[in-house]
Each structure stands twice: as C-alpha cells, then as structure tokens.
C-alpha cells in the first residue's frame, strides 16, 4: 500500500505526518526544503510495510488526486491519499503544536479505518 500525504503550502505538516507515521521521533527539519508542484518524495517504509510519500498537489487538488488514483487503478496499486490541505490555513502554518495534534488525530483515524 502506498500512502500519500498531500499538501499545498504547509510542507511542515506533511513532513511531520510522514515521520510520525514512520514512527521516527527525532524529526529532521530543514526549513528550506519543499517539493515541486505535482511531485512527490518517498520518505520510507512504515513498520507495517507501507510506502510513505509526501506530495505537493500544486494548483489543482482534484486533478492530482484523480491522476494518482487513476494510475494506481491502471497498475493495480492500492493508494491511500491523506489530504492535509486544511493545515494550509494560517492558524496551522504558524502554530506547530496545533498542527501536530491534528496530524496525530488523523493518523489514528487512518490506522483505525484501514485496520493497521
């Protein structure tokens, strides 16, 4: 299974989400890195053998999601997309504790829904 954490402006949120999912406590953080529009980066394999990616959905979220799911369907790949666009709001971009709490909640929900 491939899990994509997608964002538009709040790279920190997606970066944090990916590392929390991987179970890594010391999260390396470089403020100057980001991902190009409609591109993704592989972050690693989770303890449950899921491939974790972070992706920037660029200008049109619906097209990006449709493309990802469509190519996954063509090649019979199970793809889950976690939309972190809510965290692009100002309240989350500048308040990292709030971001972390929200992500931990979403991660729990994802694991519960997928019996992970």
């Amino acid at each position: 299974m491939k899990i994509y954490y997608i964002y538009r402006y709040n790279f920190y949120a997606a970066h944090l989400a990916a590392y929390l999912h991987l179970g890594i406590k010391n999260i390396p953080w470089n403020k100057n890195t980001s991902i190009a529009e409609m591109q993704f980066e592989f972050y690693g394999l989770s303890p449950e053998n899921q491939e974790i990616y972070v992706a920037n959905y660029g200008g049109n979220k619906q097209i990006f999601i449709n493309l990802l799911k469509g190519i996954g369907a063509i090649y019979n790949i199970d793809i889950k997309i976690v939309d972190l666009s809510k965290l692009d709001q100002v309240a989350y971009r500048y308040f990292k504790d709030r971001t972390r709490r929200y992500i931990e909640m979403r991660l729990e929900a994802l694991q519960h829904e997928n019996n992970i």
């Binding site: 097209i63 493309l67 990802l68 090649y75």
Partner: protein, 156 residues
C-alpha cells in the same frame, strides 16, 4: 504498453486522437457527425472527472489506449505519471507513452467545448466542436501516421 492521449478536459481532441488510433474513425476521408458522436466518451467528461484515465480499448499491437484530461497541468501531470511508472516498473520505455493532443485544438473546438461542458449547451456546443474537428482532421491524421511510424520503429 500503455498509450495515453492527453488534452485539457479529456473530452474532445484526445478522444478523437484515441478514436482514430483505435479505428473508430476513417483514415481516408473526413468523418461525418454520426461517426464522431459514436466514439465512446466523446464530449462527456465532467469537470470533476478531469484527471481520471478513461480506457478506450486495445489497438492491433495489444497496446492499451487511455485518455486523460490534465487541465492546465499537462506538463506536471505527464511528469507525475512518468515518475509513478518509473517507480513501479523500473523504467518508462516500452511501458507508457503520453501524447499531448492539445496542439490539435482550434477556436471552434474551444468555443464548442466551453458551451457544451461549462455552460451545458450541449446541442449547439457539439455542432461547433464537430465543425472544428472536421476542419482540423488532416492534423489528427498526421499525428496518427507519426505515432504509427514510431510504434513500428519501436521508438517508444
């Protein structure tokens, strides 16, 4: 191999290009209105479905032909698809080819597409689209010949 025709909405030029590839349209004359309307998915893609691959069929070389609309992100979308396939299959050569058919659009197809897909004026929109496609049909044939030549030479 998977052959993907892309355009803006995945409703007109890419559908015609894919339909011509699969033999829905004639190679030796300009098609009539009924032939164009009989192509699956012609002028049916909704805005929310832009980006969803549409399976059109298999050609005589067993290549699967798809149509994908990518909006204004054709370059980024193509890069995304190539990267995904590269990760899945270890390379794109012989696996997937994306053919951008947006250059085959003309003013009539744009106006007709806008009327049909955006404003819901399907009847008048389709008439204008078909008029535009028939005017530009020689360019579609030229694209098809070029693709066939390159497929025959295993250049993909």
């Amino acid at each position: 191999m998977k052959i993907i025709y892309s355009c803006y909405g995945g409703a007109h030029t890419s559908i015609i290009a894919a339909g011509l590839h699969l033999g829905y349209l004639p190679h030796d004359k300009t098609p009539n209105k009924e032939a164009i309307l009989s192509i699956p998915f012609f002028d049916q893609t909704e805005t929310a479905n832009i980006g969803v691959p549409l399976y059109m069929g298999q050609d005589q070389h067993n290549n699967e032909v798809y149509v994908i609309g990518m909006g204004s992100y054709r370059k980024e979308g193509a890069q995304l698809i190539y990267r995904l396939v590269n990760d899945l299959r270890g390379g794109c050569r012989g696996e997937v080819i994306i053919i951008n058919s947006i250059a085959l659009i003309n003013l009539e197809i744009r106006i007709g597409g806008f009327l049909s897909r955006r404003l819901g004026l399907v009847d008048i929109g389709r008439r204008i689209i078909i008029f535009g496609i028939r005017r530009k049909y020689d360019k579609f044939l030229q694209l098809k010949r070029e693709i066939n030549k390159r497929l025959g030479n295993n250049e993909f």
